[in-house]
C-alpha cells in the first residue's frame, strides 16, 4: 500500500500538495480526483489508478492564474501558504458544484481545510471575490 500523497510529492516531485496532519483532518493534501475533492493522505495510490488527478500545479493555465488563485492574492487569502493549495482546490470544487454559493455554502465547502494564519474571513472573501469573476453558467 502507498499513499497518493507520497506518489505525488516523492515520486513525481509535485510538492505543491502539502502534508499537514496525515490523517484527513486538515485538507492541506487536497487534490481533485475525477473532479472530486479528496485528501491524498488517505487515498491509496491504487484508488488513483486510471483516474484524472488535478493538483495545484495543474490549476493555472500557461502563465494565467486561475480566477480563484487571483482572488486569493487580491483578498489576502494566503499568508504562509501551506493551506493554500488545498483551499484553492476545495474552493474550485465548491464553485464547480455551486457557482453562486452563500456564505454558509462556502463555510461547508471549506470545512475540511484548516488554516492557522488567516483567520478564515479573508479566505471566505477570496471565494466570494472569485465568484464575481467566474464566467456565467450557460
Amino acid at each position: 500500500m502507498a499513499r497518493l500523497l507520497d506518489a505525488l510529492r516523492l515520486q513525481i516531485g509535485l510538492t505543491g500538495t502539502k502534508e499537514g496532519c496525515g490523517e484527513g483532518e486538515c485538507g492541506a493534501c487536497s487534490v481533485l480526483l475525477n473532479g472530486e475533492l479528496v485528501n491524498s493522505c488517505l487515498t491509496p495510490l491504487a484508488h488513483a489508478d486510471g483516474t484524472d488527478i488535478v493538483t495545484i500545479e495543474g490549476v493555472a493555465s500557461d502563465e494565467q492564474l486561475h480566477v480563484v488563485q487571483q482572488a486569493f492574492i487580491q483578498c489576502g487569502g494566503a499568508q504562509c501558504g501551506i493551506c493554500t493549495p488545498g483551499m484553492v482546490l476545495a474552493a474550485m470544487s465548491l464553485l464547480a458544484r455551486t457557482p453562486q454559493p452563500t456564505e454558509a455554502d462556502i463555510r461547508a465547502g471549506l470545512a475540511g481545510n484548516l488554516c492557522r494564519c488567516t483567520g478564515y474571513m479573508r479566505i471566505f472573501e477570496s471565494v466570494l471575490e472569485a465568484c464575481r469573476h467566474l464566467p456565467p453558467k450557460l
Binding site: M1, G24, C41, L42, P44, L110, A111
Partner: protein
Amino acid sequence: MRTPLHRYELTACDSLQDALAALAADPSARPFAGGTDLMVLMDAGHLPPGRYIDLWKVRELRDIDVTAEAVTLGALTTYTEVLKAEILRREFPMLGIAAAETGGIATQNRGTIGGNIANASPAADTPPALVAYDAELELVSSRGVRRVAYEKFHTGYKKMDLAPGELIARVRLPRGRKGWRDYYRKVGTRKAQAISKVCFAAAADVADGRVRDLRVALGSVAPTVVRCTATETTVRGHAVDDAVVVKAQRALASEIEPIDDIRSTAAYRLRVAQNVLREFLTRIRA
C-alpha cells in the same frame, strides 16, 4: 512517527465474487472501502501488518435500489452519494443530515456507509439514524447471504454480528413512513469535522395529538449505538405534555451509559441527551 504502509497489502477486486473468494482464502484479511478510518489507523501504526481486500471497485456494492417496500443502499455508497439521492432526501432525510455533518467534503467523497457501520465507533453518526429507520443489513460471504436487524448488529464495544470473511453488502431501509416526523441532532465541538459528543436521531408517527409510534436512538453515550426502548415506552400512545417529557428524560437516563473521555464528560452528555430529547418531544407536540 509514521508507519511504513508497505506493511499493509491491498488486494484489488473487480467483483463481489472476487472479494468474497479473497476473504474466504485468507481468514485474517479484512475489507477496505474508502479508507477514511483505516488509513488513519494504518498511518499511526495502530493496525497489525496484514492483507486488506479492496472493495472500492466492486460495482455490485454501490447502487441505490428502490422498490415499493424499501430503499436499499450498497455498502459502498459514499456520503456524497447519500446527499445526491433525491429519494433519501425525501423519505430518509436524517441520513443526509448525518452525511452532511460527517467530516468535510473530502471525507464525504470517500467515506462509505458500510465503513461507518463496520468501523463500529460508538460515536459514528449514521448509526442512530439507521436505528431510527429500522434498517436491516444484508451480510454476504462465500457461504451465502443473511439478514440482520441493524438494531441487533452491534453487540458490544467494537463487537458486531459479522463473521470472518463476511461483508456488509447492503443496508435496507423499509419505506411506508408517510406521516412520520424525523429529528436528528449531532452535538460536537464544531459544526463540521468534529466527532460527536452526543448524536441523537428520532422519529415519531403522530396522529390526533397522540404519538402512535416512535423510535429514539443515540450515539456517543454507550459502547454502541442504543435504541432507547424505555424512553419510547414512556411516550408511545400518549399526547406529549410536560409530565411525559419529564418521564421520558428520566427513562433516557436509565438506558444510556455516557462516559468521561477526551471529548466530553458523562454529566455533560447526559444533560445534553436529555435536552435534545426534550427538543424532539417539543417539536412533535407542536
